[in-house]
């Protein structure tokens, strides 16, 4: 394409973009540009390029028009019917359409981040090898093969301080060195893309937006460790990621970036995708390997560790998608550069999937060590609906809740654990004052108890027993001794469970009891839910002096329990009320309690 290539129209086509209608938008651009002979009119090429996710999926369809003179302009919420106007005004008339431009918060959202891993996402066509090569693609593996011994590659990664992004935070270089040191000429490499935490989608976005960087990361690891075969274990619920990655693998085979004697460099590497069938526990590495082998995805005891005896009984190295995505940057730019990012113990950047009651939900990549507060308020614009921040749940279902008091915790592995949460794969669920912390614990327990593989007793039965207790508390049947029972069980289950799922599943309970014990006590002793969340404990009514007579509650009520006329304060008929909470959620003025 080159400098005078002209205008690029980048259309976000991750899963988010596509579900918002990006395909139609793209078709419309292509059609209109062709129909109107736009290229001839402006005397420039106009390339419509699909890209991966850029994080703010809530605002899809996002379209960037990059023009050598006008620079980059982002439009959000683009609809197919608006395309004609955009082309006319921006491209033909060369005046960006001010009122359709993304609001300033979009730029704040983007500018506050530091994109390393996700550089390619949202910028390049994920299906194009050329686009990847233009971004220094496969330069890292070339550098390794041509100028570094495998041991030096491992040393480089060790010195960079890269830690596993799957959640545990084990030093990646160390992990590689274990597997490299295991005797045996047959070793396997696995990329864990079984992203299962509710609300987490960073791995999916990388696979959808920049699949080649995963292939290259794996090639580097394979070279360093001495593997010739790699698996990418992707959950089948990620059809687009699978499709893009498979496409990338096919192209790599076609162009000699995979297979025997890659690019004449004298290295061999084969890889394939293995689709997971949707079990959360298959993200656990031993369960994942069992699943690849065609067995039921159940964790196996360790030792033996995968580095010694893993897939098919051979030494195996498993890293997460995001970990592999970091690798090429470390090799290309050197460990010193990478180690300069982040904190003492956590180097580089980390991608977070920020969801919940925050203004701008999405995917953000920030240098490790930024505080949770900065992520929520500076990057994501703070809490939605003018409500008060209560807590943020970090680390997915096995993580913990961080209250306002410790909001300045930096996002690195050790600080988060100290705060009672964990990095996990990087999910941040933001909760406001309407969220009941007992209910949050109940929600996550419901998930983990469903996803327990059923192998070890503490996890299989223990989580169900804890959930039963939580349910009785939220339904007003709690007993004073329940809190102690939960704490004691939680501690035992953490210590006694077989795998990471059970060992972390009590965390949501333990951290909420730690910071929000008063909420538990209110439920148990006063049969009251302070956040007005637990339906069984609520008697809803309208707070007359807060009601602004807007009628939003009437529209939300499914059971005709709200009586309201224009200009009147609403009234809630308790007989008809089904305690569904719709009015409470609909009211922007906290006038229902």
């Amino acid at each position: 394409m080159g400098e005078n290539a002209g205008i690029k129209i980048l259309i976000c086509q991750g899963t988010g973009g596509i579900s918002a209608g990006a395909k139609k938008v793209e078709e419309e651009f292509v059609k209109i540009i062709a129909e109107k002979g736009v290229q001839a009119t402006v005397g420039k090429r106009c390339d419509v390029i699909k890209t991966g996710c850029r994080g703010l999926c809530a605002n899809d369809v996002l379209v960037d028009i990059v023009d050598p003179e006008l620079g980059r302009v982002t439009y959000d919420f683009v609809k197919p019917e608006e395309v004609a106007q955009l082309v006319e005004e921006h491209i033909v008339n060369r005046t960006p359409l001010e009122k359709r431009k993304a609001k300033p918060y979009y730029n704040t959202f983007v500018d506050q981040q530091m994109r390393v891993v996700m550089t390619g996402c949202g910028q390049i066509d994920p299906d194009s090898l050329e686009a990847y090569l233009e971004e220094d693609g496969f330069k890292a593996i070339e550098k390794c093969v041509k100028s570094m011994k495998p041991a030096e590659v491992i040393e480089e990664v060790k010195k960079s301080g890269l830690r596993g992004r799957g959640g545990g935070g084990f030093p990646t270089g160390m992990k590689w060195s274990f597997c490299a040191a295991s005797p045996g000429d047959k070793k396997y490499l696995i990329c864990n893309a079984d992203e299962g935490d509710p609300g987490a989608f960073m791995d999916r976005s990388i696979l959808e937006g920049d699949p080649f960087c995963i292939i290259e990361g794996m090639m580097v690891a394979a070279y360093a460790i001495g593997c010739y075969y790699g698996y990418v274990y992707v959950r089948a619920e990620y059809p687009l990621a699978i499709q893009r990655l498979q496409h990338a693998i096919d192209i790599c085979y076609e162009k000699g970036y995979l297979g025997k004697n890659i690019q004449g460099w004298g290295i061999d590497f084969d890889m394939r995708i293995k689709m997971g069938a949707g079990a959360f526990v298959c993200g656990e590495e031993t369960a994942l390997m069992a699943s690849i082998e065609g067995e039921r995805g159940m964790p196996r005891p360790r030792p033996p560790f995968p580095a010694v005896k893993g897939l098919w009984g051979k030494p195996t190295n498993i890293n997460n998608v995001e970990t592999f995505a970091n690798v090429r940057h470390i090799i290309n730019k050197g460990w010193e550069w990478y180690a300069s990012l982040g904190t003492d113990t956590t180097k580089g950047t980390k991608i977070f999937a920020v969801t919940g009651k925050v203004k701008h939900t999405g995917l953000v990549e920030v240098p490790a060590g930024m505080s949770v507060r900065e992520v929520i308020y500076n990057v994501c614009g703070g809490i939605a609906n003018n409500r008060k921040f209560k807590a943020v749940q970090a680390g997915g279902p096995s993580g913990g809740c961080i209250p306002a008091e410790v909001l300045d915790t930096p996002v690195d592995y050790d600080s988060l654990i100290k705060a009672g949460a964990m990095m996990g794969s990087g999910g941040l669920v933001v909760m406001d004052e309407t969220t009941c912390m007992v209910d949050v614990a109940r929600f996550f327990l419901t998930f983990t108890r469903m996803e327990s593989c059923g192998k070890c007793v503490p996890c299989r039965i223990g989580l169900k027993a804890m959930l039963d207790i939580l349910e009785s508390i939220t339904q007003g049947r709690g007993k004073p001794e329940d809190i102690e029972t939960l704490l004691e069980m939680g501690a035992t289950i953490k210590k006694a469970s077989l795998c990471g799922l059970g060992q972390t599943a009590p965390n949501p309970i333990l951290s909420t009891v730690k910071y929000f014990r008063h909420e538990y006590e209110a439920h148990i002793n006063e049969k009251r839910c302070p956040s007005n969340c637990c339906k069984e404990l609520l008697l809803w009514q309208v707070v007359e002096d807060k009601c602004v007579k807007c009628g939003a509650c009437l529209k939300a009520c499914p059971s005709d329990a709200i009586v309201w006329e224009k200009g009147q304060v609403a009234y809630l008929d308790k007989e008809k009320c089904t305690k569904c909470k719709s009015c409470y959620d609909a009211c922007r003025f906290m006038a229902i309690e």
Binding site: R296, T492, A496
Partner: protein, 828 residues
């Protein structure tokens, strides 16, 4: 070795030991529910958690964690006890407390641990499961409400039995141990799952409500079915054998049993047992006293003795103890002066008594069962080795899956063994195996793959001469195996560092005689694969004491008549008195018409048996005898292990042991009389060289393996293949998995699963004949016609059909004449 400290005790254990192993060795008990020493570590129940100083903050499962140098372990801290109690509380939350009606009570690990840890209150409450109990099969009751998810059933079925009937299904609390598509259990019914179930989730249906566990006497003995020599514990109450009890410390097989060993014990207390002697009067068998019956027998034998012993003959089953076989031999050879004795139709022991004897100088296998897991390449002749000796089959499974043994199967049909990982099947035309093995020898010689020492063994030149016309290219068509495959197999066998050959023997395998054994021994001798660990040829005698019968020379050794000649003699009148002890030639010897005619013709027929068999019905005197559960003595297994049989119950009815009867008859005929098996064993030890130095008391629970030594030589063998009869099917016979000989027909368990004979044929043949699975088909040979149920599957190659031989009605020996292959036509 690794040094560690457990509960302040210094312990040194091998470096592959787990913390659990180390503690056990030091006498420290760590509770377990899901651990089994035979299976891969699982780590599911979390009862064995311990604290390790070096791994603070976590609780470490003792059963999966290997020991490391300097490890400091604590097994009973407050935290640990609390965790174990919680595990039990949680299990009891779902496990029904129906111990009063649960057969596992008393033998239930959960019950015992609950008691031990005094879990008498539960902090939690929940509903019990409401899974439907699986009563769809006759042998195993599956009550998944009681299941505690130890996974042992699935693991044993997968790892050892290699069947894979079970798997976990669903997730979380809803997870349960299921079967394929959660349907009813339908498997081999070996019952391994029942044996390892720590609670009452899997129970033996035949044993249901028969006795409380603690009310039974447990008697250790040896299984009386096949030649594997599995040790057995019988559960006995009120003079009845009620069940077999699992003891993981028994035998080389760690208590593991097959379908007949586990479920086939009911013949002992079968109501079909003969309880009094019978004497033929007015052409009818009527009850008689022992005195009358024995007097009649003694008189007849006395007359035969007086006549010089030439017109009396004996057929004996190798199911008797060695001591009884010894007396039988003594009765004939000393008492009657007759060498006309034989067993197993002659051909079924010939591989040992003639084949091995001529080739290596002794009548036993130059290998033991333990070699299976120590070898590099395992060559199994006929996939039937799994059916004839199922527990040896388990050893093969383990060898292939755990020790990566390279498994090659040369067989006329496919079978379960062929499905093992990386197993290679060479499916040959029926009856051509001899030719195929000669071709292997030819390749080894032609390609100079023979061991250097082979040149020093006599007979090499004759062997080479006998291999003319046996190049792979020349035999490929006759064998139905490609020349490349034959060559490759020969090379792999010769080049393997260790290689072992298995050859199952038996009444169902008339082709597995002396020549086949010699062809195989030639291969082992040629390549030096004999006399070393993991090498040799295992000649697998069919019955529990087939090896003992060979050791004791229970066959003509001085020019007497063998089984076939004895029957011919009966038919021709040359034999006037026939003494049959436990054999049932009418059903199990080839040529039923011929056998029946012979037995009808013989002047005086004495039969002693447990049951009124098809043969006993023809007798003039029938003597009721004791089963293995009612007597003392020894059996010698395929692997040359001499093991003790112990009395579990008193004789049923008026039955007397073969020992007592034979001893009395010996006395009546002037031979030495014995009162005690120990004395006979002492005499065996003194007269049979292999048994030298053994004493009955010295055998202990484990038994003793006797050594072998002899001068090897190459014995050239002929190798004609059966000429195919155009348009007909090749019928091969053999053993069904659930049965062994004709005895298992009186075991309730085997009969529930496999009640009748069948004809197994391939799908293509069935389709061409218009036959569906379960149809009755007419099978006709030159000697007879019978009707059998068709079993259509994928095992049989085109043009080949298989039938098991055990069954009395529509018995397959009506069709066969003792040739390796019988040509039959099949119609509806």
């Amino acid at each position: 070795m690794v040094n560690l400290t457990i509960d302040d005790k210094q312990i040194t254990v091998p470096k592959n030991a787990t913390i659990y192993d180390a503690a056990k060795a030091a006498g420290i008990k760590i509770p377990i529910l899901c651990h089994d020493k035979k299976l891969h570590p699982f780590g599911g129940c979390r009862m064995c958690l311990v604290e390790v100083e070096q791994m603070k903050g976590r609780q470490i499962p003792a059963c999966t964690t290997p020991v490391t140098e300097g490890m400091i372990v604590r097994t009973m801290t407050d935290e640990i006890v609390k965790a174990r109690k919680m595990v039990l509380e949680l299990l009891l939350l779902k496990h029904p407390i129906d111990c009063p009606v649960c057969d596992a009570a008393g033998d239930c690990d959960l019950q015992n641990l609950t008691y031990e840890y005094q879990v008498n209150v539960n902090r939690f409450q929940d509903e019990k499961f409401n899974h439907a109990i699986d009563y769809e099969n006759p042998l195993i009751e599956r009550d998944m409400n009681r299941c505690i998810h130890c996974g042992k059933c699935a693991r044993i079925c997968d790892e050892i039995v290699s069947y894979g009937a079970y798997t976990f299904i669903s997730r979380g609390i809803e997870a349960k141990m299921g079967t394929e598509f959660d349907g009813p259990l339908n498997c081999e019914f070996c019952g391994s799952c029942v044996s390892v179930c720590p609670v009452g989730a899997l129970l033996s249906r035949p044993f249901k409500f028969k006795a409380r566990w603690w009310a039974m006497d447990k008697v250790k003995t040896v299984c009386s079915y096949c030649g594997t020599g599995c040790q057995l514990t019988l559960g006995v109450k009120d003079n009845k054998v009620l069940t077999t009890i699992y003891d993981e410390n028994q035998g080389f097989h760690n208590g593991q049993l097959c379908t007949r060993g586990r479920w086939g014990y009911q013949f002992v207390n079968s109501d079909k047992r003969l309880t009094t002697p019978l004497v033929r009067k007015n052409d009818k068998l009527v009850e008689a006293s022992w005195d009358e019956a024995l007097a009649l027998v003694a008189k007849r034998l006395g007359e035969e003795k007086a006549a010089g012993g030439k017109t009396v003959a004996g057929l004996v089953t190798p199911r008797l103890t060695s001591e009884e076989l010894f007396l039988f031999g003594k009765l004939f050879k000393e008492g009657l002066g007759s060498d006309n004795i034989d067993h197993s139709a002659g051909y079924a022991h010939e591989a040992l008594t003639k084949g091995a004897k001529e080739s290596i100088g002794y009548t036993a296998s130059p290998a033991v069962i333990a070699d299976i897991r120590k070898t590099g390449l395992l060559l199994v002749v006929k996939s039937d080795a799994y059916e004839t000796h199922p527990v040896i089959g388990f050893e093969i499974n383990l060898g292939v899956k755990r020790q990566e043994v390279d498994l090659r199967i040369v067989s006329d049909k496919r079978g379960k063994l062929g499905k093992l990982p990386k197993a290679v099947n060479y499916v040959h035309k029926p009856g051509s195996e001899l030719l195929l093995f000669k071709a292997l020898a030819r390749v080894i010689i032609d390609e100079n793959l023979a061991d250097a020492a082979a040149g020093a063994i006599s007979g090499l030149d004759e062997l080479k001469k006998s291999l003319a016309g046996c190049t792979p290219a020349e035999v490929a068509v006759a064998c139905g195996v490609s020349a490349d495959d034959i060559t490759a197999l020969a090379r792999d066998y010769a080049k393997a560092e260790k290689a072992l050959i298995l050859l199952p023997l038996g009444l169902g395998y008339p082709g597995h005689g002396a020549e086949l054994a010699q062809a195989l021994l030639n291969l082992a001798l040629l390549t030096g694969k004999i006399g070393k660990e993991g090498c040799g040829v295992l000649l697998m005698g069919e019955k529990n004491n087939s090896q003992g019968a060979a050791d004791l020379g229970i066959y003509p050794t001085a020019g007497g008549k063998d089984a076939a000649a004895i029957l011919d003699g009966c038919a021709s009148g040359a034999i006037k008195t026939l003494f049959v002890a436990g054999e049932n030639p009418v059903v199990s010897y080839p040529g039923r018409n011929r056998v029946e005619a012979a037995l009808d013709k013989v002047e005086f027929l004495i039969v002693q048996d447990l049951f009124l068999t098809e043969t006993a019905e023809k007798a003039d005197v029938v003597l009721p005898v004791c089963s293995f559960a009612e007597k003392e003595g020894t059996f010698t297994s395929v692997g040359r292990a001499v093991q003790r049989v112990n009395r579990a119950i008193k004789p049923v009815g008026q039955a007397r042991s073969d020992f007592d009867i034979l001893s009395q008859l010996c006395g009546a005929l002037g031979a030495a009389r014995y009162t005690d098996p120990a004395a006979v064993f002492a005499e065996i030890a003194a007269t049979v060289p292999a048994y030298k130095g053994l004493t009955l008391a010295g055998l202990g629970d484990a038994g003793a393996v006797y050594p072998v030594a002899g001068a090897p030589r190459f014995v050239p063998v002929a190798g004609a293949t059966a000429a195919a009869e155009p348009g007909k099917f090749a019928l091969v016979t053999g053993s069904a998995l659930n049965h062994c000989g004709t005895l298992s027909r009186y075991g309730e368990g085997p009969m529930l699963v496999c009640p009748e004979g069948y004809l197994e044929l391939g799908r293509d043949d069935a389709k061409a004949l218009g036959i569906s699975d379960g149809d009755q088909v007419a099978v006709k040979s030159a000697t007879g016609e019978i009707r059998l149920k068709a079993k259509v599957g994928t095992r049989m190659p085109q043009g080949v059909v298989f039938a098991p031989y055990h069954f009395g009605e529509q018995s397959i020996n009506s069709l066969s004449t003792g040739a390796p292959v019988t040509w039959v036509s099949i119609g509806k």
